[in-house]
Symmetry: C2
Subunit: 338 residues, 2 copies
């Protein structure tokens, strides 16, 4: 019987633009032993999210970059397999931020016990976790959709976008989703129940989007940037709100235009009284209890649906992550670690 | 004795970029007679404001453009010299929106009676009028300066900027003003009491601004755009707020950069959780009573000071307006019409 090892993926080098396999290195170490007050976690699921691209760069952001040779960071769902901490028992399932590895120690700080009877534990990384809270707080606190208004969101089959559109509809707004390809668009419209789904790969994508928004756009939930932004921008109505939670299209290098788009943006902000507001969900942490209560109820009653895209094996995390940045995932991307 | 005529200035042609004298035409017509329910106004003061540049273009904005051959629009303070309206007596002084002319008819709609005993009537076009309300609502509702925070505003000797900085200081914030030239800077610092005043014409303007904002910038009240924006932008703190009420530097044609500044802006909005919010004062009309109460008190107690730049004679309005767009005025620009 081979010894069980702690498999982990570290940042080998910082990407020059597009992330490549060479930016990662897989390592196998001895499994650490929990010290006084510590627990040993076996990671069940690792969440892969666009924000991780930012952590690979050594640039000023809201969080410190991952150091070279350090474990890639990330949200995880884990099982307690050894415990020297009275608050956690062997067999407990917890939400942790243990990163891209198969095992981790924790002193219990930041661990959140999950109830597997309430919902599949993987949802703590998706619809009931950071992506869901991002959608809920950004849409309701910044976007504030009113009944009859039009809400547009891209990556609409993904964990944030899918929640944004469904919550918008619950609030009486019209939800228009943007996704890549016919399969995702069908899912957005037919399964998630958006009012319209537009394929951003279509050659006439801007025209299709305009036709899907006959009354303009009141809320654009920005999580991609790039060509989608260019298509949505002229459709924004007076007093439109633009919560900005991500810019996945420019993470692998800025998507510049031949012309300087800043003066036009500023003029529109002025003459349309636009609100553009960046945020991360942590700012709204006090809304988590309300979010969990409401979202659990919406899941229970079928008002909100979600889709997971699960990749097996930690060794496949780098490739899955590179695919995520290109929109290859279909639903919340998770790695089943063990 | 020569007959008194209604002198007026009309939009002769739309500017191609920079406004020129040829875009205006002066006319003299018979003075109209008030019909039933109407009053005849003799204009005392005409306000010249940057927003008027937008009205000269035939582009989508928050207000309709001035038509070719129509009187240039603008706020005015006027005296009632004939009245068929029971609400207004001959001799009343009123705030009106009569435009660039010496006389005007009104059915009384939109007229606001002024009390010359309360404050000089010209202030209804400045510190107690639209510019003051713009500063008050944009700063307090969108900017929300907290004690100890740093507020930066350009055109700081002008009617909006001067009020922004002084209100910021009343609220306990640090006020940094940007102005053009040593004389204006001295006025901003010594008379208006800003904590610092920086000359945007200085070759090391960005460095000077940075030194004046050792703790970064929490509120940038945007009324100019252009190079000032470029200098302020890197100094913005996490959660900084940017109310946008004007972009005077780009009114005579967009000030483009060689590179596309949009991706960098969007990234900063994201990683710094910035709020950028365009507005016009009309959105906050319900705050006018509170504004008038507070601002009158601040004027009475000397907490807020203001400066007017008065040009004599309507015929000089075009040249004064062209100077305004180049920052040649020093204080609230008014035309003494009669």
């Amino acid at each position: 019987m081979s010894e069980v090892r702690n498999t982990r993926i570290v940042l080998a080098s910082r990407p020059q633009g597009t992330v490549t396999a060479e930016n990662f290195r897989i390592e196998a170490l001895a499994i650490p032993r929990p010290g006084t007050g510590e627990v040993l976690l076996k990671i069940l699921f690792l969440s892969l999210d666009p924000y991780m691209r930012g952590r690979m760069d050594d640039a000023k952001s809201y969080a410190a970059p991952v150091e070279i040779d350090a474990v890639m960071e990330g949200g995880t769902v884990a099982e307690v397999i050894a415990s020297n901490n009275p608050d956690f028992a062997v067999g407990d399932t917890v939400l942790s931020h243990s990163g891209w590895q198969s095992h981790a120690l924790s002193d219990g700080g930041g661990l959140l016990k999950l109830d597997p009877a309430l919902a599949p534990v993987s949802t703590a990384l998706g619809i009931l976790g950071m992506p869901g809270l991002t959608a809920y707080t950004g849409l309701l606190t910044i976007g504030r959709p009113q009944p009859g208004e039009t809400v547009v969101v891209a990556a609409a089959s993904g964990p944030v976008g899918s929640a944004v559109g469904q919550i918008a509809r619950i609030k009486g707004a019209r939800a228009v989703g943007i996704a890549g390809g016919a399969e995702k668009c069908a899912f957005v419209k037919d399964v998630l129940g958006f009012d319209a789904a537009i394929d951003h790969r279509a050659p006439d994508f801007p025209e299709q989007l305009q036709r899907a928004c006959p009354n303009g756009v009141d809320v654009y939930f920005e999580n991609v940037g790039g060509p989608v932004w260019d298509a949505v921008f002229p459709l924004l109505n007076t007093f439109a709100r633009v919560p900005v939670c991500g810019l996945i299209s420019q993470y692998n290098g800025a998507t510049s235009s031949q012309t300087d788009r800043l003066p036009r943006l500023m003029r529109s902000i002025l003459v349309k009284s636009l609100t553009i507001r960046g945020f991360i969900y942590r700012e709204f942490a006090d809304q988590r209890p309300a979010f969990l209560r409401e979202m659990s109820e919406w899941l229970r009653t079928g008002k909100v649906r979600y889709r997971e895209d699960i990749v097996d094996g930690l060794a496949n995390a780098p490739e899955a992550f590179m695919g995520l940045l290109k929109g290859r995932n279909f639903g919340k991307l998770l790695v089943r670690v063990s």
